[in-house]
Amino acid sequence: MSEKPLTSRYQRITGEVVSIPPDFPAPLAWWIMFGVSMLFVGLLIVSIAMVFIYGVGIWGNNIPVGWGFPIANYIWWIAIGHAGTLISAMLLLMNENWRNSLNRFAEAMTLFAVTCGGLYPIVHLGRPWYFYWMVPYPSTMGVWPQFRSPLTWDFFAVLTYLLVSLCFWYIGIVPDLAAARDRAKKRRWQVFFGIFALGWRGSGRHWLRWRQAYWITAAIAVPLVVSVHSEISMLFAAGPIPGWQSTVFPPYFVMGAAFSGFAVVTMLAVMVRSLLKLKDLVTERHLDMLGRMVLATGLMTAFGYVTEVWTGAYAGSYELDTVLDRFAGPYAWSFWGAVFFNFVPLQLLWFRKIRVAPVPAFLIGLGIAVGMWMERYMLLVSTLYRDWLESSVHLFHATFWDWSLYLGFIGFFLAAFLLFVRFLPVISQFEIKEAIEEKASGEA
């Protein structure tokens, strides 16, 4: 292949990606979606204000179900974030080039999901204005966090994860910001991209440093996925509560996290692809690979379900009570709902035709997002509402404000993602070009 067509292809790719912010391809659709999202952001603000004014009593939480939606949703959000890291960092380290079309927005998804997830435990506190007491700072009173608590480590884990994800995403986007800067025609876009491109000139030394930084950050990020979600699982597994105290929880949670994350990446890929008309960059191959990832992690999660039930049956007594109660108790809908939405449509992904078809892929992804939410609800509520003593059994019912906060965070996530799509290069153009280059030189 000659130099010329390649260069022009590079230019086309660059143009396609960086021209999106100044010359957005679907302004009407974007505005409609953004408007709806902002309505939910308004709901989020009202919901948080209500909690801060009146207290967490506006939710359905009670004793025994002291944790309700906030903690279940916290796990759900953080879990979604993990797929972004896995796609970007893990596949980078493994030299899987197909990631290059997906990694940028998958990383953005991670950032926004982790933000939503990270805010939840703070909003959920009885006295949120003291959340910084979980930080190990040398206070004048000489009081430190309690280092045996899974929550302390959760706090560290999520904070670390957020910072590392942010670094990774930002390092990755710098060359593209520079490209966007160079091509921007309007002054305000030049200034905007110019500031955030950090003076990137594309020199060889820049690329060398960049590559070191990027790979090192990736190498830090990948184990974080495992440690963060293992740590989150300790929130449950460390408590002596039947249905929680199980050694299967860390891997089970990590797999579930990757599963739900890949499902949401699939949804976003379909959305980005059609909204921004990037069908030749996010190709069928990408959908196919995502489908395989979803299928693989889904089957591993299913194995987690089986193990959990088996552990309960083996342990007997209270553990078995909990398992049976999940099958047929008042929250059976959440168990069977999780089983259905997570694993039944999943089986369609064995077929390539379904994997590469955007609409079924999107719907299956949506189903898994719902199913995994039900799983978190089931793990939390059906365990707590009936733990040891029959006398402390009490049902949990979510209130309007539980739902409004959840929908509000979804609105926040979508609004942030739409802003990202609107103003930043959604696809890592230089990495795609690199991949094409490598492929071309390999062929040559």
């Binding site: 207290g55 009593g57 939480n61 979980m134 045996r148 002596p240 040891w388 006398s391 059994v393």
Partner: protein, 931 residues
Amino acid sequence: MSSADPLELAQQRFPALDLRRRDVLKTLGATLALAGLDGCAREADETAMPFVNDPDGGPSAEKHYATAVELDGIGQPVIGICRDGRPVKLEGNPNHPASQGATDAFTQAALLGLYDPARSQTPARQGAPSTWGEAEAALFDLANQLDASHGGGFHLLTGPVGSPTLLRQIAALRTRWPGMRWHVHAPLAGEVPPILMPLDKVEVLVALDADPLGPGPLQTPHGRGWSARRRAYQKGQGSALVFVAEPAPTLTGAVASERLPARFGRIPALLAALEQRLSGSGDGGQFDAREQAWLNATATGLVRHKGAALVMLGPHHPAALHARVAALNATLDAPAPIFQTPRNVDAGDAPSLVAAMRAGEARSVLVLDSNPAYSTPPELGFAQAFAKVPLRVHAGLHPDETAELAHWHLPLAHLLESWSDARTADGSTSVVQPLVRPFFDVRSRHEMLALLAGDRTSGRRLVQPTWNANDADQRWQNALLSGVIEPSPLAGGGGAPSRAEGAGPATPAVAGGATPSPNPLPQGERANVGLDLVILPDPTIHDGQFAHNPWLQELPKPLTKLTWDNSIQLGPQLAARLGLENEQLAELSLGGSKVVGPVWIVPGIAAETVLVHLGYGRRAGGEVGKGAGFDAYPLRSLAAPWQRTGARLTRHDGSRTLATTQPHTTMAGHDFVRLVDRAGEGLPKEPPKPSMYPPQKKTDGLAWAMAIDLDVCIGCNACVTACDAENNIPMVGRDQVHKGRAMHWLRVDHYADGPQDDPQLTFQPVPCMHCENAPCEMGCPVNATVHSPDGLNLQVYNRCIGTRTCSAFCPYKVRHFNWYDYTREAPPVVRAARNPEVTVRDRGVMEKCTYCIQRIEREKIDADAEERPMGEVKTACQQVCPTSAIVFGNIADAESEVSQRKADPRDYNLLEDANTRPRTTYSARIKGGSA
């Protein structure tokens, strides 16, 4: 006299009074008066005598006064504890035989009644605020008229009267006005008056539809007596058997060795069978297998323990049956009663008053501390008849249903702010001294009657003549210190009844004019005529007088754990037949009256029996009780106020959510309450399991722990209410309880296991376990719950950020969270009732039982100051418990009572599987043993 200037009157009555200050208070009204409670100006009456000498007399000094409160006219001796001049806690009087340091839940909650913001504060004339000047003028007018007519046409209606001074005053009034008539309205009175039995001497107690351990004025002394016997049995002395036959489960039924759910119509037959078996004249009629078994066991027990066997029959059964029971007890050589509370035999009843009012004979009526407009059945027509009376005066604590119908409503003082006296269940008498000066411009009941007689003498001077005493009198001072007053040998003319009077008749007196219940049905016959209806006073709000007391409204009913509501209760089989389920509305009709209420299924109610509780559906008197429950008084008839046949129960559209603190009452195959078969038997001890929790630092020689004996717990809830009072537990209301947010630090779990028509009923008080390996401490990210070296699991409120991890990890779910700001919105007067030694918790903070750490710390400080080793510390729940089921102390001291309890082979850990090594442990219940 009638046009006396109120200020002048006040000046006469209170010479030391600064009238200008009083005017200011009057102008600014009650808010300021209440705000003033926070200060330390409101000391008790200067002549009241602190039980314990006040060591330093500083502003925060704690003073203890021996006094009493009343329930159904029967005194409950207490020590009132005042801090900063405010009464903050009532404890049982340890030196009084009717208390021995314990109280029931009603007595604990009487404190909150004192601070009730709904209490009447000024006289009201036809609903409009008035002054005492005008009220006194009206009363003096009345007195003048009555002097002229020798009392003709005047009727006085009171509740049951036990106070010697009140009796003396009424007697004096009747002497002065021979034409006046006195009526007693006692909605809860049975056919025989309450009798205190020496249950500590009873090896075999047969309770035929009787509930000596149930809520009521005799619960404390009966609980004391029964538990003393039971404890001896645990050590292998005697039997302490209880046989109960009853239509609806009671607290006595719950502790029974053999409980027989029996329709109330079967009670006479069962009694007859016992009579015949004891006299050897046959086995007395047709009985099914279960009844046979019960009769065999009961009769065997009675025979074997002749001399220490006792049959008790519910007081609502007809006098004829009571006579037979008395005869049976005589043949059994049963222990003699300690005291039978005498009836006010010289008083008429409410129906005779209604007849007089209807006939137009009643020209003026004074209702003193009674609420007949609410607590009489509508068929009596009290309200309509009352409306015909030309002068209607009501004196009471609340603007209640009767007050609304009266021309005058005069605010009465609470007993805790009055001088008075009371007769206790054992027949001894107590002086009631005020713990605090009245919060409002109110009169005590004695001042009220004195005013009626045109006499403005104040409280103490009205009580002293009864006892032939004065302030300087050593006997009087001793009575104030000890809480017991002996009638003076000189007091014959004073009118104080002697103790011997009315003591212990073997055959109880029968009230004149009372119609016996209709003869109950034999089994099987007329089964199709309808259901049996059993009417009982509510276990927590009694006859309705406590409907506005949040501590009692939110106190879970012992056998249903419902709060804030009554319900139509029936057994599971009947409910299934009628297609009814919990919370479904149903219509209960009988004769011409019907009520609609929510259904609650209670295992252990006899077949074809429906149970309702009185006291709910209040229409006036305060906001707290409004809208709670339904009024069951319409279901009563004059002839059969307690048990009726022929009731119909049908499904009604709709449902009402009921707030229960314990939706599940079975143990689901687990053994939270463990049982052993007989005394001396133990539970297998499990060796401690390995744990990954690090060892805790320990103080030498100090390790706090608690032991709770499930064998003597009667589920009376006194501990829960005492904990509410001691630890400033917020009441959260019906909706919050329904959501699962009740705040009681100590709860009493109730289980009804086994066959649902004849379950094993058990109770289990559950405070914080103070686990040595506490999961909550491991879970908290900010060190807000930590372990103290002396073994307490501490909760540091101001470090808590409210993650609720501790509660999620707590296997016992004894932690409670301030979901909202439950404390700040309390009215100032309720804040004044709080214990100043216990922090009030803010929104967003977790709280739980502390083992009354404030009491531990106080003992620690006192011991330090006096340079002595620490002595005994009693938690509030332990102190109040009438059966001494709860013991707290130091397990590092092998001699302590708690160590001895834990050494008992019945001792076990709740949820051994959770491996938390709890410091609170339980002694297994002993199933029954054999006769």
